[in-house]
Amino acid sequence: MTDAAETTEPALGDPQGRPAGPFAFGAGIVLVSGVLLSQVFAIDTTEGFSPQGPRFLPLVVLTLMLVLGLVYLAQQAAAVRQGGSLPAEPFTHLAAAAVLVGILVVYAFVLGPVGYVPATALFFVAAARTMGSRHLTRDVVVGIGLALLVYLSFTRALGVFLPQGVFPL
């Protein structure tokens, strides 16, 4: 019964929805627009910033995005000053989500060397458990079944290549 504890894990961050999240995201937008904007100047062209050249539209679009990112930040700030509620929902299972992203990345790397079926079955079990499943047997059975079904139908019937890996089928 101890394994049930993780499902009631306390919310990470503030469930009241402190504006940190939206501010960070807004700042991210501004930062990314800025970096990409600097990349626009790196585009090699003889046409300068002529509207017909490859730099013009990226310049316009990224400048606009930078401005809108700032407007978004200003909107958030105004909302905080007014004490109004913010649209962002609280982060509750952020750690689990981070683990899931980690599992996805590992999956991407082992897919080729290990092979589609074992990698997918393992991934399925790991992902399901991260998302709160507590039926190991069920997950293993479904994972292996799904992996085999996909592998056979895609390689045999549809002619899509999938890595065979360590267990030849």
């Binding site: 019937a157 549809l158 002619g159 899509v160 290549f161």
Partner: protein, 338 residues
């Protein structure tokens, strides 16, 4: 219009390309280690035809037509696989072909368009890094105008261009491709400056036709087959075709550029090349297979169905032709200022 419907065809996706080349690479190393590989019969395993572009284009249909005819008529005993390697106007595929050096089973479809693309991308690999096997097909370029155009002949177009180059907008396939090159060739032959040319590139035949009919483009240039149905329907007028030899377009004999007094023989050809470093013996054997393919009824039907002209040269003849085309394109690029 479309190819006969078959349900799901076993066809390898680009994914398979990676695997395919690693396998052939491994096999090739093995063969090289064996030493006496030259006496081996071709093909001794699956023949891979690479299409250095996305599925669906002209090179792709050429490769798939070859595959179909070879399999249908049992030209070789081993299976033939077609796979696509997209990118860089063919440069990506060409550099991948380098990995299979000396292996006669690694073939690639290519053509005139690739010369320009390599030129434009200042690619480190070139046509010299292949073993030309044969040229296969060619298509004449057509100069067309909307039916209500002021231009009645190709001479009118040249005259207008000579007066004011900016007054004539040309349009066709992507910039720097065969369609733009033939315009440059025409202006050069007429004694005008090709670098002043106003050219609008379109990504597909349909788009180009829309551009011509809507009036964005005054003179359309592309493969004859692209415009045939519009010419037939009376929406477009054919001014000239680019080959020295004339052909029937929409039921009428077309005027060639040479008829109009410009010394040009230009066609958009496609060819089959093998990986670089093939032994003469291996080259001979691959050529024999292509010879047999070329002789089949199936290939004649495929040419007919796709509207391709037979443009078959092998051996030194093919080599010389490709070399001269490479020089021609390089010169045209210079003139265009690209």
């Amino acid at each position: 219009m479309r190819a006969p419907r078959r349900s799901v065809v076993r066809r390898t996706v680009a994914v398979a390309a990676v695997l395919g080349t690693t396998l052939t690479l491994a096999a090739c190393n093995q063969a090289a280690g064996g030493g006496a590989a030259s006496s081996e019969e071709f093909p001794s395993k699956t023949v891979d035809i690479m299409v250095p572009a996305a599925a669906g284009g002209g090179w792709d249909s050429t490769a798939r037509a070859m595959q179909k005819v070879i399999e249908d008529e049992d030209v070789v005993s081993e299976p033939v696989e077609v796979f696509n390697v997209e990118g860089g106007g063919g440069a990506t595929g060409l550099s991948q072909l380098q990995k299979d050096e000396g292996d006669p089973h690694a073939l690639m479809v290519t053509g005139l368009v690739m010369i320009g693309a390599l030129e434009q991308a200042s690619s480190p690999v070139s046509f010299e890094d292949t073993t030309p096997i044969a040229t296969l097909t060619s298509e004449a370029e057509a100069f067309v105008v909307p039916s209500d155009s002021q231009y009645e002949s190709i001479e009118d177009v040249v005259a207008a261009y000579e007066k004011d180059p900016a007054s004539v907008t040309f349009g066709g396939g992507s910039a720097g491709g065969s369609d733009q090159l033939v315009v440059a060739e025409l202006m050069k032959a007429a004694g005008a400056d090709p670098s002043q040319m106003k050219y609008v590139g379109y990504s597909g035949g349909g788009e180009a036709i829309a551009g011509i009919l809507s009036g964005d483009v005054a003179v359309g240039v592309s493969g004859v087959s692209e415009f045939e149905s519009q010419i037939e329907a009376g929406d477009m007028r054919l001014l000239a075709i680019s080959t020295a030899e004339t052909q029937e377009v929409a039921g009428e004999e077309a005027t060639t550029l040479q008829d109009a007094g410009y010394d040009i023989d230009f066609s958009n050809w496609r060819a089959l090349v093998a990986a670089p470093g093939l032994s003469d013996d291996a080259k001979e054997q691959v050529t024999e297979v292509v010879d047999e393919l070329h002789g089949t009824q199936g290939w004649k039907d495929a040419l007919e169905a796709n509207g391709w002209a037979d443009f078959y040269k092998t051996g030194d003849e093919a080599q010389e032709y490709i070399d001269s085309e490479v020089d021609r394109v390089a010169a045209l690029y210079e003139d265009l200022g690209l």
